[in-house]
């Protein structure tokens, strides 16, 4: 109940601090009989891994997942799947400067106030390092979902926006380190991120996500609408400030006569402002949504901030941080999407007699 459990039937519980011994989790409720491709799981982890390219944090972590239970002879047994990733790079010295001070726009201050104590090393539990556990579980969920395709990509870095609909893009492969599926835009983004890093600054961005081949009927009425759970899943990722699906905020400016999706005879629709979901339930059309990420709060610039005693102090970000979080956020967005869909896929199985 303290917030580290996600899902109703396909349930992920995670643990772990940035600089503790390990991070990891338990998936309870994964059906028996799924032949798991463990390499595909590690591959998703590698997409999230620090140090993978020149534009991300250079923290050294191999991020190798070890499965501890729930899989026998390569197949899920229906019992809980425990897994862990040992933390290798625990240079706690890097963080001594934040032991007694609160970094601006970080969770240091609120953790201290809420809990009366905190593991200050690297942000502890509030570090985005915990999302590695989500990626592991999401990669398991993807294998449950089989034919459902989940593709996320970077659609904005700062002011640089990809002005194309997902339908115009080739999402089959990630062609560049920014993970923007448009080469020209990706190059601009990469250059911009490098410039920002030189400034010791950071910048925000947007990740977009498309889900294809969703069966009709995923979603539970009223409070657990499919897009409501997707929204919660995305908003639970570190640094996320907004979520919109289908027509999103632009839809708020439209008229009903323009916005309504008229049917074809096969139940598909001619347009898809609904974003593949009606009344909280998937209608078989593509689901698509955008997720806004704020700029990373850790700067390699001097800032004035507050210490525990209430004094204003100078602080300079050390350590190894991302100048822009969205390239590494792509597999996280996919993972959370997969967790939601796996859960709703199972829930739907008990909706009819």
């Amino acid at each position: 109940m303290a917030g580290n459990i996600f899902g109703k039937l396909f349930k992920l519980t995670t643990f772990g601090e940035s600089h503790g011994r390990a991070i990891g989790g338990i998936i309870d409720g994964c059906p028996a009989g799924i032949k798991l491709d463990l390499e595909a799981i590690q591959n998703d982890l590698d997409r999230r891994k620090p140090g993978q390219s020149a534009i991300v944090t250079q923290r050294k972590e191999s991020d190798t997942v070890e499965f501890l239970s729930g899989i026998f002879e390569g197949v899920t047994t229906g019992t809980p799947i425990g897994f862990e990733i040992r933390n290798e790079d625990q240079k706690s010295k890097d963080y001594s400067h934040i032991k007694d001070s609160f970094r601006p726009s970080h969770a240091d201050y609120v953790y201290e106030k809420k809990y009366g104590t905190r593991d200050y090393r690297g942000g502890g539990r509030s570090s985005a390092r915990e999302t590695a556990s989500r990626v592991v579980a999401g990669a398991v969920a993807k294998q449950l979902l089989k034919d459902i395709e989940i593709k996320a990509y970077v659609s904005a870095v700062g002011e640089i926006k990809l002005d194309k609909s997902y339908t115009e893009l080739n999402l089959t492969q990630e062609e560049n380190i920014v993970r923007c599926p448009d080469t020209a835009t990706a190059q601009k983004m990469e250059a911009y991120i490098k410039e920002i890093r030189k400034q010791g600054d950071t910048v925000g961005g947007v990740v977009s996500c498309v889900i294809k081949n969703v069966p009709i009927g995923l979603g539970e009425p009223v409070f657990d609408k499919l897009h409501a759970e997707l929204g919660k899943a995305m908003l639970s990722i570190n640094a996320v400030k907004g979520f919109e699906y289908g027509s999103g905020f632009e839809g708020a400016a439209m008229k009903g006569s323009d916005h309504n999706d008229l049917y074809n005879e096969d139940g598909s629709t001619k347009t898809n402002f609904s974003g593949g979901i009606q009344g909280g339930i998937s209608n078989g059309m593509d689901i698509y949504f955008n997720v806004a990420f704020k700029p990373v709060a850790t700067l390699i610039q001097e800032q004035t901030t507050l210490d525990k005693k209430g004094n204003m102090v100078k602080m300079q970000g050390k350590g190894r941080h991302d100048p822009c979080v969205v390239p590494r956020a792509v597999p996280i967005v996919e993972a959370m999407t997969a967790l939601v869909l796996a859960d709703y896929f199972l829930l739907d199985k008990v909706s009819r007699y």
Copy 2:
């Protein structure tokens, strides 16, 4: 688990179809000892009620709530609070035209596919009529929250946008039927809604919400971040397409050096791009967010649509519908906000030894 329960400790379960006998709910987990102002609850219901003004649906419902349990001599007893609102206006004839057809951008089609059956009268469970139950429960939650102020208002109707920050607005009273706290803008919105209605069309809009006097520490790490739950709560409201808090989607275009909220000595911050939440936990600053609503899908225009047999048929919206949903959505946004806060207020009580 089928989605009609909201909350972890302050738990609302609702029931009821648009044209069934009654709608209502049960609040389980409301602490004992709250002296309830029942008039304030009915008052919030009246703000959501059909027929309250010239720009909303003219369906006839007095929407009077009857409390059935959990309150004794005006005070909550800690036992479940059952309540109901009888449906008075059950003109089922109005809806015979949708018995065998699926209205575009409505939930008719997906309900039929998911459940194999549906109460087609007025949209049944997918009708926004169920939100009346949320308003009742939210009004109870508000009384638990006492000093915490929750104020929502209309900030956009179609293309007409209120270009002021909430800090420039007087939110103490609702001065007009649009519920936009700026007279000039409200008049434009009202005129526009009337025009849209004349066209038999509908239009979307945005509701903004501000929460003041939030104690530091509400929010649970990782999956149950405060803004993630607020986002889910808002996205669960009918017709919502997007949610953003603090700097929101604009924050995604900003640099960290501009976006970081620097501290004052008392722990407050000089700016509030964070929107009162850091790392998923309230930091004592104002929480503010925007909620995008699509245009209502029911038009008083002829549309072509699909029937159960797979034929394309002509359909014309009858019944009594809102040309723009946002004025009536204001108390619903407040209610869902109150439910989340009441829940997290209780959760925080067990976070420290």
Copy 3:
């Protein structure tokens, strides 16, 4: 979270005090497409109803259930099923004597201490009157379970015990008002209950229950073993002091070589000390268990008790109470059994890929 919700997928939430306006509940998660026999539901309620025979409380309640939602044209729609039973007999005067005093072995004292207030009329929420809502929901669950047969009966009243295994009994019909399926024993029990009532006293008893035609595989490993949930369900019924299944407490005195159930070639077992459950999962054999009920605490004798001010006072039970609770407990035990089985039936549907 305050304890008025039961079940994981087939979820019942109940409300209502003994002498409030109504009791009732909401079933969320009942699959769509069940053609409900409403008469069968009312019939189960009638088996629990006060005033049904000479050996039960003579409180006047017709206990007529009204369904408010979730059923359309006689069939469940997959949306929440709301229902209520209005309280008719609200003679609050009967209970004025307990407004300021705590009846011995009742919940008056602990409710006052826990909540600081209580609806003292008739025991309020702690009255067994709430079990009527369970019977309604259980009767719906029975219809989901179709071929699974649940039969409870009285196997002991005070010292009078039915010394036969369920396999020797004809459980198809309830032949007497005690609900003991052995005429000779039933007559003794009836005579004893009448004598006890004359003394102004009460007596405890045991209800036994058998479940036949259970599919193999119901039950979830470790914490949610089938018998663990059945045990919790039974222990949640007012006045229950113990639960045992299969060999039960007698099994604790046995040797493994006697207790082990050897297999037949078809997977059935030659004996059934396991009680139809192994490792928390049903094995297809009959499930059987016993539930111990204490004597009703309300006596029509004078007792000395405590008042709110800490004084010892004389108190004499008034009102209309059961001299022995087990005959009316039979349909309640069945209802709780049905709720558990319906829930685990649905859970099992998602255990395999």
Copy 4:
């Protein structure tokens, strides 16, 4: 939802098979600020450990717990506490004989039927080895409960019963390897267990438990009564067949005039047939209950059983098993008790305004 999560606020999720890499768990919802005595936790594990005495299984496991998160500088931080115990003794050869056969009165058959596959080594997830994770979490819970004393002990081994009330016993220390707090009875039990082992047989038993210093008010009305959750907790332990509290099954034979607990002026009661709980809520008196364990199903005798192909085959138990499970069950009963109480202690904190 697949049953490996226990608790509502103090939530334990466990994983791990008997002969997999590790077992362990995550506690989510442990309040911040508890200074943990890690030695006391290991000490409880040692009480459950195989090989600790001549009358228990001789499997070789050091059962050393490693904490991975949630504790910083010896104090809980409010974030999830991850922990694991590596399996050292993985002699899978011991279990080759059960790869294709189903041991009588074990979970082999039902796991195979439910999941279509199983980790057959040592019983996999159905092995009582998983209870080590419960002991770790229970030992953490004990430290949250501080003044509340939980003492379990062996009160029966086969037909040998300890015929004394807990009030006549000295429970401060475990004086013998049987964990029966009466030397003469303990000696008889020990001798009997040794004899049973020589026979290659096993025997059942009873564990009793007493909880002292419980504050008034723990327990949630209706479905989540304190004794209902205790009952579920006990019944979830491997081999448990029954649970009774207070007067238990004997209470079913009593009259109300004998069974009612009359009050003293301070709110305590002169007798305690209620077992410290009224209406599901603790009343401040001692809570006491009995838990019946069946004889271990693995015999070192030849038995005839069923194989996967439906043939009857001879099987002889190998490996290292307990002739009687109750001595090692004592710390498990305590651990599950502590988990329930910690959870209800937190729940009670939000019951009043």
